[in-house]
Symmetry: C2
């Protein structure tokens, strides 16, 4: 029986593992092996597999150590052979580093332990061998500190105290009256080690381990332990990483960047992670080790000369000063630099992606410690993918998959200047409801926003929450801030639809409409005062923060073309106005998946006719008012159809409860009464009679058209007549009429009957015909459950996952603020289900409905028009659920297109 191999060695351009074994060796271990195999200089070492981690949690520490001990000892021997040093040796002691390394890069797990193997004997031996006592003792004190913190669990004495080691360092600097660690003498370091060990003894009650093997097993144990620490568990939960994966342990011979002026350590990127430019760049420090480069104790220097010069220019450092104090590696160690440059090129070419590298130069020799795909901004992501495609490094599919859909969002909205943000005062933080950046003077009423806009002034509209009546004000405002409401509140949804920056649900914000003031903590600001909103982070700043507009590159267009080429699903937009439609069209929407007709009702004098209809006491009265709306709606639809030029346009019939069209404050009601020449009491009475306890589950959707069929008649006529008018002008038209909030097939049959009758009337009147489809939203759970029956009537399904989520989970999205944050915090729910589709709950209903619907009508067209249609993981779900298209707000169309391509490519 073959023994399970648990330890994989590497070194001297040889390795037992390779880069494809990430599951077994973790990302770091696999890449260390791979670098060896392709001839990159890597300090020799070995990797203990992730499977051992699983066994550790089954069998415990002792059993696992016993199990792997022979293999580890053999692996250490191999390092000894390659380095000529001995682990625990007296003359040439081998020092090692120990690092964790899971399949995916996982912050929150164990930090690196360097210089393991040091003790009072070894430090002397190294001093003797290197003639560099300061280096030896610097390494030793670093080791005791790291090991003490990470393995022995040293903690501050109390909440008020600092890390005990840092306290010792501070005290010694004080005693010696020096500023930097580097200013301490070798004797000081010797004294420091002594005090460190005393502190360990005091807090843990045990002596600091001197046996290198004991040190090694302690470190291995700590790596495995760290897999289950709170931060790691939380991170896994957030990123959906199974606990079973486990972590590997990497043990490597130490190489030293702190051996003197001919040694250094650094990190670098094969391309620019911010812009994507194909420029090698990075930072290094001479005579340094480990985290010194990023720790900010010393100012790191640039690796390339070009980078160094750029840096100096930005920092206002003269060329003389730069060369004297901050020379580039290219200048300082030209030979090593050349080797590093070749190595980075090799690694990028080999891994075919931008690499994030760590290296150490020991006494003039370059060692690579890590290579991995580098994190990058959205802009860089697109540019690098398209450049590499251009350069022939990757193929189209890979280029598409390299671009993370969600990150495209960064490219689509104006952004704050980073420097400006640093200096601004953060007032509070709300939900990042709609990305982007906006600054402006605040107003509290939509009509004020309009007035100011007419005077050419920009505004930030601040409301407790918004309603459809605020639409025009929202449209002219630069940004929107609300005190209530979640990521899918009216403000958030409309703002995203408009591509407008919005921070919603900023709970600390107290708004007083009377005094027109906004209070956050101690700060009170009034109408006209400036604030700035970061819709990408939810931060609210006092005053103006400079922004810059996002620019879309040619690479972006290339990426979108590729996405379209590989996606199976079409992407449509939710667009209510011709302007929305134009934006959507520009972003590549192949149709409108949801036109909310009621959003047209608020413009100009329309609302008056709508209100007349609502106030009418009988059908005849309603018909009079509807007759006024007919030409207006018809005109709107004509424009929409023209813009979409033959792409499908799904028009949803009237959906919201009627009370949304009536003003809720007495002042506005009075205005309305005067405007319409009716008593205030009449308006109030109607508002009262339309009041509902749970309007979400009330008299809305097709329930309106079923109780007042004349509304459906008017809307059907407006749609059909508009389509025929546009067709007459020679423009192709593709009409889909959508009935909302259907819960049973009889409702849909009744509505379809009305629509078909009206359509036939219009056809007869004009002696012409057009094609049209009648379908329904699937947004009531019952509709999903009885989809087989509903598909008898419906020619298409469009999943309204906003409402479907509300009803399936019993979550009113306007009211989740009180418990959702707690639920997320306690892990009772993984994501805000209004942002990321609840695949297990809502998703089951969607899959079931598609299945049942196509059981009845095999060619049934299925799409989604909820907010989820623009969220990548939800788009992927839609692909697997067999939907024909997703529809989302215009500004998310590119994201959805890319996500759809990803889904299709992943399925391949």
């Amino acid at each position: 029986m073959a023994q399970t191999k648990r330890v994989y060695t590497f070194g001297n351009k040889n390795a037992e593992g390779n880069g494809k074994m990430k599951e077994l060796l973790g990302g770091k271990g696999a890449n260390l092996a791979e670098m060896n195999l392709i001839g990159i200089p890597v300090p020799p070492g070995f990797t203990i597999t992730t499977e051992v981690c699983a066994e550790y949690y089954k069998k415990g520490k002792e059993a696992v150590i016993a199990m792997i001990q022979p293999e580890v000892e053999k692996a250490v021997e191999q390092i000894e052979q390659l380095t000529g040093a001995q682990f625990g040796g007296k003359e040439n002691p081998l020092l090692v580093s120990v690092r964790s390394g899971a399949r995916a890069s996982m912050p929150g797990m164990m930090d690196t332990i360097l210089n393991l193997g040091l003790n009072d004997q070894a430090v002397e031996a190294i001093t003797k061998r290197t003639g560099n006592a300061r280096f030896a003792w610097d390494s030793y004190r670093r080791f005791v500190q790291m090991y003490g913190d990470v393995v022995l669990g040293m903690k501050p004495e109390s909440k008020e105290d600092h890390d005990p080691f840092e306290e010792i360092i501070d005290k010694m600097k004080e005693e010696q009256n020096v500023k930097n660690d580097t200013d301490l003498s070798t004797d000081d370091l010797r004294e420091m080690v002594k005090r460190f060990k005393a502190a360990v003894k005091k807090q843990t009650g045990m002596d600091f381990p001197t046996d290198p093997w004991e040190q090694l097993w302690g470190a291995v144990n700590a790596v495995f332990q760290s897999w289950m620490n709170d931060r790691a568990i939380y991170y896994r939960k957030l990123n959906n990483i199974p606990a079973e994966w486990g972590t590997a342990v990497n043990v490597q011979a130490m190489v030293f960047g702190n051996m003197g002026e001919n040694s250094a350590t650094g990190v670098c990127f094969t391309r620019d992670a911010a812009t994507g430019e194909d420029i090698f760049n990075g930072e290094y420090l001479v005579n340094a080790q480990g985290e010194d480069v990023v720790a900010g104790i010393r100012t790191p220097q640039q690796i390339t000369l070009e980078g160094s010069r750029r840096w100096a220019k930005a920092q206002n450092v003269s060329e003389e000063e730069r060369r004297a104090k901050y020379p580039s590696l290219e200048e300082v160690m030209p030979q090593v630099y050349k080797e590093l440059d070749e190595t980075q090129q090799n690694l990028e070419n080999y891994f075919k992606d931008m690499q994030d590298l760590e290296f150490t130069i020991q006494d003039g020799k370059l060692w690579m410690l890590q290579t991995r795909s580098g994190k990058r901004t959205g802009a860089a992501m697109v540019k690098i993918a398209m450049d590499m495609l251009e350069q022939g490094m990757i193929d189209e599919k890979t280029a598409v998959l390299r671009c993370e859909p969600a990150k495209l969002d960064e490219l689509l909205h104006p952004v704050f200047d980073k420097g400006a943000m640093k200096n601004a005062k953060v007032l509070t933080k709300g939900l990042p409801a709609s990305p982007g950046a906006a600054s402006g003077p605040i107003v509290f009423f939509a009509e004020d926003a309009e007035k100011w806009a007419n005077d050419g002034k920009k505004t930030i509209l601040v409301r407790i929450e918004t309603s459809p009546e605020d639409l025009k004000g929202m449209n002219v405002a630069a940004g929107i801030l609300t005190a209530r409401g979640g990521m899918t509140s009216h403000a958030a949804v409309v703002a995203r639809g408009m591509g407008k920056c919005c921070v919603s649900g900023a709970g600390e914000v107290k708004i007083d409409y009377k005094t027109r003031t906004l209070t956050i903590g101690d700060t009170t600001i009034k109408e006209g005062d400036w604030i700035s909103l970061n819709g990408t982070t939810g931060e609210v700043y006092l005053g103006q923060v400079a922004t810059k507009a996002a620019e879309l590159s040619g690479d972006f267009a290339k990426l979108m073309d590729l996405a379209g080429k590989y996606a199976h699903m079409k992407v449509r937009a939710n667009a209510d106005t011709p302007n929305d439609a134009k934006v959507a069209f520009q972003f590549g929407a192949e149709g409108i998946g949801l036109c909310r007709t009621e959003h047209m009702f608020f413009e100009g004098d329309r609302i008056k006719a709508v209100r007349e209809m609502i106030l009418a006491g009988d059908e005849a009265g309603r018909r009079v008012a509807l007759a006024k709306l007919l030409p207006i709606q018809r005109g709107d639809f004509e424009q929409l159809f023209e813009v979409m030029n033959g792409y499908p346009v799904t028009v949803r019939l009237l959906d919201p409860p009627l009370h949304e069209f009536l003003p809720q404050t007495e002042k506005e009601q009075d205005e309305m009464a005067k405007d319409m020449g009716i008593p205030l009491a009449t308006v109030k009475e109607k508002v009262e009679s339309l009041h509902e306890v749970n309007p979400m589950l009330g008299h809305r959707g097709c329930r309106l058209g079923n109780t007042y069929p004349e509304i459906t008649e008017m809307q059907a006529r407006a749609i059909i007549e508009a389509a025929m008018n546009v067709k007459k002008r020679g423009i192709p038209v593709h009409v889909e009429i959508m009935v909302p909030l259907v819960g049973n097939h009889k409702e849909l049959r009744y509505q379809k009957g009305i629509i078909d009758t009206v359509a036939n009337e219009v056809f007869c009147e004009r002696n012409d015909k057009i094609e049209y489809m009648v379908g329904t939203m699937i947004e009531v759970p019952r509709a999903a459950v009885t989809a087989n029956q509903i598909a008898e009537v419906a020619e298409f399904f469009s999943f309204g996952t906003n409402d479907l989520t509300q009803m399936t989970l019993g979550f009113s999205r306007d009211d989740i603020g009180k418990f959702l944050p707690v639920y997320l915090e306690k892990g009772l729910i993984k994501n805000d289900p209004f942002q990321i589709l609840d695949q297990n709950g809502v998703g089951q209903l969607v899959r079931e409905a598609v299945l049942k619907g196509r059981g009845t009508r095999p060619v049934l067209k299925c799409g989604i028009c909820g907010e989820h249609g623009g969220e990548p993981s939800s788009v992927e779900f839609c692909h697997y659920a067999g939907l024909n298209y997703v529809s989302c707000s215009p500004f998310r169309v590119p994201i959805a297109r890319l996500a759809a391509a990803h889904a299709a490519l992943k399925q391949q």
Copy 2:
């Protein structure tokens, strides 16, 4: 190939069909055949099958007549042979009756046509043969009138006019100056026939058909046509009768009750349909035909002497007058009476059920025209079933199945005296929310109802709608009337739970709290004025209507025992107080399926502690308030456990949104502020902060316990401590703790963790243990969809079908008033889904959840605790869905028990 038989003859104690062929021959036809087979004198005739009706709607009139003509002609020949008369014959013309007859008795279909075959020649021949010209012409004019109305479709000339024939009769009586039809002479009748025919010619443009065959086919056609008239369609829809069933046509030789003083016609019941007493009873008229007995033109006489005497006594008619003017059939025709009495006994013995009979006596000879199971009151239903069981006529299972569960309701609530109701003024009609009868002076505020009750005065509580704060007032009121809210509104649910009469959603009622008046149309009444409510019909009367309390007989108890014997499902009650529990226990509840703990929060000073908890700014403050509630809740639970004496008690943790515990009007808020010694502004602020757009989908259910775990801790402790206290007293306890509004298994796991921790704490404190289960309501659609996961944690499921219906259908039960009536009227929905479980939608989720839940946990106990648990068809559904129990309001326990037995017996 065997020819399909389409016409079945009967007569002279012989028949081609029989009583079991109701599907083919209709109820009437099958029983006519059966009566022949058992030797009952029935006029000979034949039945055209229901299948012909189906063919009629496929192939049309002409084709069907052609198809059945040979068989019908042969059947008519057989009548001719048996009667010696000839259809269309000149000397002894055969007259026939034509009646419709579907599988189920169906009002709304074609009326009977009598005397078919008459024309100007036949009337003379009959005159000659009988020597009774008046009889002949009376029959003739009846025929023309019936045939004209039913077959020829004669209608009033305009809306203002009467039936054209009735107008002619009235005019002739005026001309002849007589009062009764019977006072018209033979010549008058002759003239009448002439005028009738002229009227037919005038309105239809066609002569009245004189050919008997033409008459017959016309009548047959009319029967088939009537299957599709509006009333019939509506009736079928209401009663779930498929259109495919079709109707049969029964053609029979006429027998004449109008041939003189030795002839008569009547209807009778083999037992008393009102009380169930085993007394033969009925009414008859001498020298009369068809509908004369029930038409009310002459006062009908009693059949039995005993019945006649009883009637006279009730009507204040002296024995002399009775004998002279209203003698019984027993006295008038003793021989025929004896034969009738024997026949009714035979028929009842044969059909083994109370029979509703029609008969005609022609010249001293008795003919039976119909027998069918008689309709009866709830009380009669129970008594007859138990008597027949006693009498050995039927077995236990039949006796149980004979009793319709829904009709038990009549027995359980006080009822109005029928006579008193007739004389009362009906003010309006609302929804029959909770059956029973109540009279009293009206009050508009719950606290007034309490005050009046303290003064010993009864009240009817009138509210626009009720809220939990009104509970005490509702509890002391005699009845409840609300202007808003449906059958499952707060008022309705609570009232049914209390077994208290309630009319809800009386939309015409305008309530003015300020002036304390109630206006319906022109009538305005004020506080203290009396009204009466009929909760069984929804009618609201002005003033006091006398009521009588329902009395439960020994028969009722017997029936319940039998139900318990045959049911598979247990029946529990929804009971929140010890008093509810006692009532439920008396009605035979085998446990409490739902104890809504929050209903205990309103009594006495408790609400103050609850409000303290809500107002507390932090967990510490909440814990202080909860500590006050703990002993109170524990006490309540102890009482409940004691009453239920070892039967399972399911306690649901806090469910409603917290705002329900705070007063909503400023006045009450002010009182609360004073009471608690805090500023009014604080109360208002809290009310405002708890406001939700859709409270139904908001911060409630386990979302409370998940955000404020200390609430769950307190409740869990109260439950466990109470159970242990009761157990200590030697009383067995069976505790089930139920977590409401669970949508995902993590929520339940978290709550169960809290409960288990608290339970273990209590066990340690007391050094003792008890068994308890933790389960969940399945009321959020997502819970049903993910039941497999939830069952990993839940030890039982209780389907909360009220909320499950709200969320699955997207119907807020508080808001359905605006569209549900329209939906019901337009047939867009069959039933109020809050009354009768929506089996196709909600039911699918229930079945799926049971399946998935038991897939995970095979022994999972499943029940239902929504309102549907007391509705018979829903109880039947629960049986088939495999539930272990249903739970309903105490007063519906007997109904549920019987329905459960029905379901089990039907499945056998």
